[in-house]
């Protein structure tokens, strides 16, 4: 039960609004996976760091601006993110992770969502203590 609860609560993320609408330096995948560093990402001045989210299509203003100098001419760009991007599929159906579904074989874990059904307990978690006072 304790394990199940920890799985439930491990998904908390901080400041979702700022992550989504802020300076948009994280990709949607990073936000969902909680792959976010505590401090703001240190961007080396004058480096090509900005190009790393090229192709993610994160919107106007975030992609490589047209500030490429002539120095960039004929230099090899690192494109490790390209393979990840190529695998991304334009679909609202999220890719299925079958390994995550194995937890549902555990009857204890299955019980954790029992209250989401009409067959579940009628006690409201917060009001449970209040009900006890009446007796």
């Amino acid at each position: 039960m304790a394990k199940a609860e920890s799985v439930f609560h491990s998904r908390r993320r901080p400041n979702l609004m700022r992550l989504i609408y802020g300076d948009r330096k994280y990709t949607p995948e990073q936000i969902v996976n909680g792959d976010i560093e505590e401090g703001p990402l240190k961007l080396k001045e004058g480096s090509d760091e900005e190009d790393s989210d090229e192709g993610f299509g994160t919107g106007p203003g975030t992609g490589g601006e047209d500030n490429d100098n002539d120095e960039d001419f004929l230099t090899l760009k690192k494109e490790d993110s390209d393979t990840v991007v190529a695998q991304m599929i334009d679909s609202c159906k999220s890719t299925i992770e079958f390994t995550d579904l194995d937890i549902w074989d555990n009857p204890e874990f299955k019980e954790t969502i029992r209250d989401r059904f009409i067959t579940g307990s009628l006690d409201v978690p917060g009001a449970a203590s209040a009900g006890g006072d009446d007796e």
């Binding site: 439930f8 908390r12 993320r13 969902v32 919107g59 106007p60 679909s91 029992r114 009628l122 978690p125």
Partner: protein, 366 residues
């Protein structure tokens, strides 16, 4: 001359074209697979552009010689009777999903026939669109004549299925306040099979029912398509749906391929449904984008909806909605501590926004 919105990359292609069409903004997408061995637009993306051209009038699409960049100047959505062959690279859902977003704001009611793959594991299946996505629109006041007919099935790789989408037009949408997720009272579903043994459907249904033993009201239809309704390839799939007391939906679906046992497909689909239920909220992950779009397009009034977990796709959608319509959602995280509602999921997000007051000027006020 409105501002040109610039994007890079092939991702989120459809949603940007749809949002450009609805907002009337000019869209430019660069670097479409520019570093790929096979650069440029794929066939299904070009096919989607052709479909967009069929349902609109006056749009211009300029594609660069290499196909790595496009400029899209949207026209008017005209709708009407349209036929489109979706090919076999992507399923019908890929094309249908954007049409659902455009349909209500068309000049003439849409009556669109699409040919291709009806169920696969990449795009949302026609069953889920029919039972989950379309009912979501009803909450916004789009009801009469909204339907998806599935005369024949088509499994990958060869497809051959056919669906007919009919959508009424509205002048304005209704705002929604949907924060009470309620409790699940029934589970419905469709299991279909074509060009395999007819028992496949029943075997999927039986194994799914075994997992979903929470409520008694479970009804999963087992359908076997025969003859000219069966498409060109063998296939089977299951689509499940849990409905709560407040008409919130949770859905899951899975299609089977060669060598897979129908029991496994039913079992995994059922577990997926449980995972979706665990996330909670009033809107499941598949319909998040559609519901959020309709909230933004609603009247100048506050719309509120509770969702479970945002998918990466939805997060990018939120960003794109901000770019095209300038509207931002207020996202409030609610945890189990301040939970007083009976049977609510412990961690949910409350999405609030003010609609932009979108009016379909083609529809006369009654």
């Amino acid at each position: 001359m409105s501002k040109v919105l610039k994007y890079e990359g092939h991702n989120y292609f459809r949603q940007r074209l749809v949002l450009a069409t609805l907002s009337g903004k000019v869209l430019k997408i660069d670097k479409i697979r520019s570093n790929d061995a096979n650069p440029g637009l794929r066939d299904f993306e070009a096919s989607f552009l052709r479909l967009l051209e069929k349902v609109t009038n006056g749009a211009t699409i300029e594609i660069s010689y290499t196909g790595t960049s496009i400029v899209y100047k949207p026209g008017v959505i005209v709708g009407g009777k349209v036929y489109h062959d979706c090919g076999t690279a992507r399923a019908v859902g890929y094309f249908l999903e954007p049409l659902i977003a455009l349909g209500p704001f068309s000049k003439n009611p849409m009556n669109i026939t699409l040919n291709g793959i009806t169920n696969d594991n990449v795009d949302i299946s026609v069953d889920t669109i029919r039972t989950v996505l379309l009912p979501q629109l009803k909450k916004f006041g789009i009801e009469e004549g909204l339907e998806l007919e599935i005369p024949s099935r088509g499994a990958p790789p060869n497809g051959g299925g056919k669906v007919i989408f009919r959508c009424p037009i509205v002048r304005v949408l209704k705002p929604i306040q949907f924060t009470d997720e309620g409790r699940i009272k029934r589970i419905r579903g469709v299991a279909y099979c074509t060009r395999v043994a007819p028992q496949f459907s029943n075997r999927m249904v039986d194994s799914a029912r075994g997992v979903l033993d929470y409520v008694n009201d479970i009804n999963i239809a087992a359908v076997h398509y025969q003859g000219d309704k069966s498409g060109l390839s063998p296939g089977f799939a299951i689509s499940l749906l849990a409905k709560t007391t407040t008409s919130a939906f949770y859905s899951a679906e899975l299609a089977g391929g060669p060598g897979q046992a129908p029991e496994d497909i039913g079992l995994l689909a059922a577990k997926q449904l449980l995972a979706e239920i665990q996330k909670g909220g009033c809107v499941d992950s598949i319909s998040q984008t559609l519901v959020l779009l309709m909230m933004v397009l609603g009247p100048n009034d506050v719309s509120k909806v509770r969702v479970g977990e945002l998918t990466p796709f939805t997060i990018q959608y939120l960003r794109d909605l901000q770019d095209f319509f300038g509207s931002q959602f207020k996202i409030t995280q609610e945890t189990g501590k301040d939970q007083t509602v009976l049977g609510a999921a412990p961690d949910t997000l409350l999405m609030t926004c003010v609609g932009v007051g979108y009016v379909n000027t083609n529809k006369k006020a009654t």
